[in-house]
Amino acid sequence: MLNKRIPVAMALAFGLMASIACSDDEAPTGPTAGTLSVTLTTPNMDDGAILFEVTGPDIVSVSVTVPEHYTHVGVDGSTLTIVVVGDIESGLLVGFDVSDTRAVDSYSATVTQVADRSNELRGSLTGYDLTVE
């Protein structure tokens, strides 16, 4: 199981390092470690919990991007199962550290369950989307 609560500052530092790496004039010649983010698009305004999977190679750790959210991660091979509980809105859900950010296309994220803030499970996941970038 991966650490569920990495400080936001650390996550931002990872992002800064990644952006510095990208601003270099020379193209990187090898793997570039960094943080990828999972962004949610939701059709609803009252989501209270979301369960989703992230699949891809060599995920090192998961970072919390909204401190008020409760986040817990399970690992099965190259698949992370992540639950985030709180007042969920469209936007950044979590970040995860990888050994090579250039392989971003190797990663995918899929919504499994969503509950509203009255704890009821959504009957349909139409309109929900996760983006890895």
Binding site: D46, T81, A115, L121
Partner: protein, 352 residues
């Protein structure tokens, strides 16, 4: 048995013989007074911090008694309290016959009407946190939130007049004047029958043996607490004899909530006595089958994300009941659990 206890028993026997009152002392003797001054303290429950709560029947008062025996009034809003137990959330549930209701008293002593049951008496919390209420010749079953589930006719098994308890095997047992039955597939099955009338409250130890209070109305027979096997066989006819008209026994909990080998015995003369703990071979069995605080947050979270976990089916069912109650454990239920345990704040947007 300690040397001191053995000496005390020997001394009592000697004194009793001299006075012509000799009686067989049991392993649970000698007893000592723990608290007194009640009218009828036969319904008792321990909270998770080790305090004893006593419903004084008839006078409408519920007392808290700390481990050192100090008592204070907890609530006097409920007329004719009949049965008490703590629910999975730490509320004291109280049955009453006067207005045919079950009340819920929060930790600060505030009582609210929970649900209606006619003629309610004994009350117990099951392994899944659900609530069982004995009433006249029926057992009524409610979920942990007080929603009605089902009713069983137990008339042929007695009226469950003196308490209902779950055994370590998770089977609901009920005591009437002369018998104990357990509920199997919705029907009462005899465990110990043909016992003297005036058998009253009972409680289990961790092995499933049970201690049953016998109030003798015969001047030639000693009131006592008898020990039975889980199959209903008398193991010790006089386990505790230094009691006067006992009506119930409860194993105490310590400050961590663990059930101990200290047994407190309520008497119809208004005293609560403590038996000799050194005479008990095993600790008591918890009378509350499930408590929210006992559920591990990590286990509840791991079950959601598919990690190995120790959340059992009763706990998962309970979390579903306090969540969306749809019959399966999902993230809506897990969210409800986090709110209920204070891990996250309830959303202002929540409809409930």
């Amino acid at each position: 048995m300690s040397r001191r206890a053995a000496l005390a028993i020997a001394l009592m026997l000697a004194v009793g013989a001299v006075m012509g009152l000799a009686q067989a002392l049991g392993p649970g003797d000698p007893t000592t007074v723990f608290a007194s001054g009640f009218t009828n303290p036969c319904r008792m429950a321990f909270d998770a911090s080790g305090d004893l709560f006593v419903a004084d029947l008839g006078v409408g008062q519920i007392y808290r008694v700390t481990p050192d025996g100090t008592r204070s009034l907890f609530n006097d809003d409920i007329a004719d309290p009949r049965g008490v137990t703590f629910d999975a959330f730490g509320n004291l549930l109280v049955t009453t016959r006067t207005d045919t209701a079950v009340y819920k008293i929060s930790s600060d002593g505030q009582a609210t009407k929970f649900f209606d049951v006619f003629g309610a008496s004994g009350i117990a919390i099951g392994p899944d946190g659900s609530i069982w209420v004995a009433a006249v010749d029926s057992l009524h079953h409610f979920d942990a939130m007080g929603r009605y589930l089902e009713t069983f006719d137990v008339g042929s098994g007695g009226a469950a007049a003196f308490g209902i308890q779950f055994s370590p095997a998770g089977e609901l047992h009920m005591s009437s004047f002369a018998s104990i039955h357990k509920l199997v597939d919705g029907a009462p099955v005899p465990i110990a029958t043909g016992q003297p009338v005036q058998m009253r409250g009972f409680t289990f130890d961790v092995t499933g043996n049970f201690y049953w209070a016998y109030r003798s109305l015969d001047p030639d027979t000693v009131s006592r607490v008898k020990l039975y096997s889980r199959a209903g066989i008398v193991l010790q006819d006089s386990f505790v004899t230094q009691v006067q008209e006992p009506c119930a026994g409860r194993f105490a909990r310590d400050a961590t909530g663990a059930t101990t080998d200290r047994m407190f015995i309520a008497q119809l003369d208004g005293e609560i006595r403590e038996a000799n703990p050194e005479g008990f071979p095993f600790a008591g069995w918890p009378v509350v089958g499930l408590e929210l605080d006992q559920i591990s947050e990590i286990d509840a979270a791991d079950r959601i994300v598919g990690e190995p976990n120790d959340l059992d089916d009763n706990q998962a069912h309970f979390i579903d009941v306090i969540g969306n109650n749809d019959g399966s454990y999902d993230i809506g239920d897990f969210r409800a659990y986090l709110v209920e345990t204070g891990v996250i704040s309830p959303s202002t947007a929540a409809a409930r």
